[in-house]
C-alpha cells in the first residue's frame, strides 16, 4: 500500500525530509505507527535517534494525533513531529 509521509520542525530539519511517498509491503501488514517508525529507523543513525530515541515524537494520521499502536491504511497521510509548542 501507499502512504504519504510528512516531517515537521526538528525532525524535518535533522532528517532533511519534508515529505515523501512510501510503499509499504502489504504482506508485512498490518502496519502500525510503531512498525513504520522501526522501518524508517533502519535508514541510519539519525533516523533511529529521531524516531526511536530519547526525544519524544508525536504522530498524526490524516491530521489526527494518534498513538504508536494506531493502524495505517492505504492512502493515509502520516506525519511525525516533536511535541507542539504553539500559542
Amino acid at each position: 500500500m501507499k502512504i504519504k509521509l510528512f516531517y515537521f520542525a526538528r525532525l524535518k530539519e535533522t532528517l532533511k525530509y519534508s515529505t515523501e511517498d512510501l510503499e509499504l509491503g502489504d504482506a508485512e501488514g498490518p502496519w502500525t505507527v510503531l512498525k513504520l517508525k522501526a522501518l524508517l529507523s533502519k535508514r541510519g543513525d539519525v533516523w533511529g535517534q529521531m524516531l526511536m530515541g530519547k526525544l519524544k515524537v508525536r504522530a498524526a494520521i490524516n491530521h489526527e494525533l494518534v498513538h504508536d499502536n494506531a493502524t495505517i491504511a492505504n492512502g493515509d497521510e502520516v506525519a511525525f513531529f516533536p511535541p507542539v509548542t504553539g500559542g
Binding site: 515537521f8 491530521h63 506525519a79 513531529f81 509548542t85 504553539g86 500559542g87
Partner: protein, 153 residues
C-alpha cells in the same frame, strides 16, 4: 466559530469588538493574547519562527473549539494564530470567547489555550545570541491541560 492561521499581524481590538457586538445578548467577552517575549529560559530572544502543519492546524483548532462549545454554554469562539517569522513584542495568538456570563467564557478561553498549547501542530524556533534553537515543550503545559480532565465543571 472562526479559525485563522496567518503570517500577517491582527487587530485584536477589532476582532474582540466584532465578537462582542455580534449579538445583543452577549454579556461577556474573555480574550487572550500571546506575544513574543524578548527572553526565554534566561536567554535574550531576537526572533521567533513559527512552523505549522497546514491542514491539520485548522482542523485541530476547530476540534478544540467544538469541545469547548460542548462543555460550556458560550456563544462564539475566535482563534487567530500567526506563523512565520516574528519579533519580540509581536502578537502570536488571539483567542476570544463570547458568552452570556463571565464564568463560562473565562473557563472556555483558558481551556482553548491549554489545548492549543498541547495539541495544535505549531512549533517555535527562537534565535538567541548563541544561535537558533527549537523551543522545548513544557510539562507545565501538559499539566494545565490535564486539569480539564479532572474537574467536572
Amino acid at each position: 466559530m472562526t479559525v485563522r492561521v496567518q503570517t500577517e499581524d491582527f487587530d485584536a481590538g477589532f476582532e474582540i469588538n466584532q465578537l462582542r457586538s455580534a449579538r445583543k445578548d452577549v454579556g461577556a467577552v474573555v480574550s487572550f493574547i500571546g506575544q513574543v517575549r524578548d527572553v526565554n529560559e534566561g536567554d535574550e530572544v531576537s526572533q521567533l519562527t513559527l512552523e505549522h502543519y497546514p491542514g491539520m492546524t485548522e482542523k485541530s483548532l476547530e476540534a478544540i473549539i467544538t469541545q469547548a462549545k460542548t462543555r460550556w454554554n458560550i456563544m462564539d469562539v475566535l482563534i487567530i494564530h500567526r506563523v512565520g517569522t516574528l519579533q519580540p513584542c509581536d502578537q502570536i495568538v488571539l483567542v476570544a470567547v463570547s458568552g452570556s456570563h463571565r464564568g463560562e467564557a473565562f473557563a472556555a478561553c483558558e481551556f482553548v489555550m491549554d489545548y492549543l498549547k498541547t495539541e495544535a501542530p505549531f512549533w517555535k524556533k527562537e534565535a538567541t545570541s548563541s544561535g537558533e534553537r527549537w523551543v522545548e515543550a513544557k510539562s507545565s503545559d501538559d499539566d494545565a491541560r490535564e486539569r480539564w480532565n479532572k474537574t467536572t465543571e
